[in-house]
């Protein structure tokens, strides 16, 4: 077993060796510009790009013509939200709806639109992380132009009810964007059945390379966008810039493998995640964050009460995991996602996200559980809060000196 153990597959995944192999020829040999129409170098590259487009479309049951290449999910989110807001803002209205637990690529894009005069409603999530459909329906207005809700949450892995949200949006002629960066290869996505107009994808969360993504733009009924990147008119004018053939080939192969292997892989990863959950549940005062049913198979997010997240991360240096506590950045703020669920700050501070993947083994999970048991115990022996809780003190009743 190799240390440290990688349990951060929602941050990024390794490129599958089969994907890397498929990409290689497009760097030195088949290097043509897919936009070169006048010679075989260009034709060859163009054929590879279109084959990859077919694969991306096939995974999500879309038409290849509905797939636009971008640099990744962040760019896709920006293009979808700014592009639709600018296109429909004048005619439909300048009100937008999203959720407080969305990724920063969505939230910060919306903030930018607010500075331009758009108004945004940020819905609360329920305690289990899921959106309340009644509250959503109540937030819809006559001037609502766009709704953006992610399919799978990056921190807690919950799956939002996008089919229902899509139906509500379609009935009122509202454009519906879905960030599906964390979802491909994890849950079935059928865009032929869903009322989704725009959907963002990333390659590197699904065993493809970093720096490449795609945006699904529905054709029937047609979703219109204002381009955010201008230039040579690539991608039917929606996203100019020379296509990164090798990256695109990688994304296509990664999504092809996801389509073929998703069912078996999900079952295997779920068994490992449940093994981890079982082991972690044997530790006292552990709290699972987010719904366990409407959730992807590879995510476990837990708070270890009375232990601070960053010190736990330090103790777990043999595990590559991420903490809900953003103490590791400069902000010292606990996770805004867990806070949005109404989680007390101290539990938000002590959360750890484990995300498993294609190369996770049973031995690694067993090692992780044993390490957690030891280190949580050690830190609790050192924790005044644990001592007080053991003595029966109600920590909520204590007058803390905030600093």
């Amino acid at each position: 077993m190799h240390l440290p153990i990688y349990l951060d597959y929602s941050a990024t995944t390794p490129v599958d060796p089969r994907v890397a192999e498929k990409m290689l020829p497009y760097l030195c040999e088949r290097f043509g510009n897919p936009a070169s129409r006048s010679h075989s170098f260009g034709w060859e590259a163009d054929a590879a790009v279109e084959e990859a487009r077919n694969e991306v479309a096939a995974l999500v049951h879309a038409d290849p013509k509905e797939i636009v290449w971008t640099s990744g999910a962040t760019e896709s989110d920006n293009l979808a939200i700014k592009g639709a807001a600018h296109f429909y803002g004048e005619t439909k209205g300048r009100h937008l709806i999203s959720v407080k637990t969305e990724h920063k690529a969505v939230l910060d894009t919306l903030r930018d639109l607010e500075r331009q005069g758009f108004r945004v409603t940020y819905l609360d999530a329920q305690k289990n992380g899921l959106i309340d459909l009644e509250a959503f329906q109540a937030a819809l207005r006559d001037d609502t132009a766009l709704v953006s809700v992610m399919l799978v949450n990056n921190e807690i892995g919950v799956i939002q009810p996008i089919a229902e949200i899509g139906d509500l949006c379609r009935a009122r002629g509202i454009i519906f964007h879905v960030d599906a960066a964390q979802a491909t290869g994890k849950v079935d996505i059928d865009l032929s059945a869903l009322n989704v107009d725009l959907m963002s994808f990333s390659a590197h969360k699904t065993y493809g390379p970093k720096g490449i993504g795609a945006l699904y733009v529905r054709r029937k009924p047609r979703a219109r966008l204002e381009a955010q990147m201008h230039g040579g008119g690539h991608e039917r004018g929606l996203r100019s810039g020379t296509l990164a053939t090798h990256q695109i080939v990688g994304m296509g192969e990664a999504f092809r493998l996801a389509r073929l292997e998703m069912a078996a892989e999900t079952a295997r990863v779920r068994r490992l995640r449940d093994r981890l959950l079982d082991g972690v549940s044997r530790i006292e005062a552990v709290h699972v964050n987010g719904d366990m049913t409407a959730r992807v198979a590879h995510n476990l997010n837990v708070s270890f009460a009375y232990v601070e997240g960053e010190s736990l991360m330090m103790a777990l240096k043999d595990l590559a995991v991420s903490s809900g506590s953003a103490c590791t950045s400069a902000s010292l703020e606990p996770s805004y996602v867990l806070r949005a669920l109404g989680q007390p700050d101290e539990l938000a501070h002590s959360s750890i996200r484990f995300t498993l993947g294609r190369f996770t083994t049973k031995e690694e999970i067993d090692y992780a559980v044993e390490l957690l048991r030891q280190k949580v115990g050690k830190l609790r022996d050192m924790s005044p809060l644990w001592e007080m809780a053991q003595a029966g003190v109600d920590l909520d009743a204590v007058q803390w000196a905030a600093h």
Binding site: E310, S311, P334, W400, A402
Partner: protein
Amino acid sequence: MSYSVKVIDHYENPRNVGGFDADEAGVGTGMVGAPACGDVMKLQIKVNDNGVIEDARFKTYGCGSAIASSSLITEWVKGKTVDEALEIKNAQIAEELALPPVKIHCSVLAEDAIKAAVADYRKKHCA
């Protein structure tokens, strides 16, 4: 977050973890911070009849820097008089542990903990 060797040493081998009976004469207890802020320090000193701190204990809920700051300060106060202990400044702790700017508050908390422990001791002692 990359920690200094000293922070990692104190974190992995914390000195003087534990506690004294808070009701015992000569024991001063200071508890500072708040769970919602991500750190709580409990520092206890045991003062002899000559006003010298002969032992100290801590328990800390917090990041590695908070644990290291409290571990370090238990070492520093031992053998000092309570007046000398009050002279310890957070900047000295931050310098000794090479804390990055974002972690300076951990050293401030350790200084506050000592002050609170001495105040508690004096309150009991003078009463």
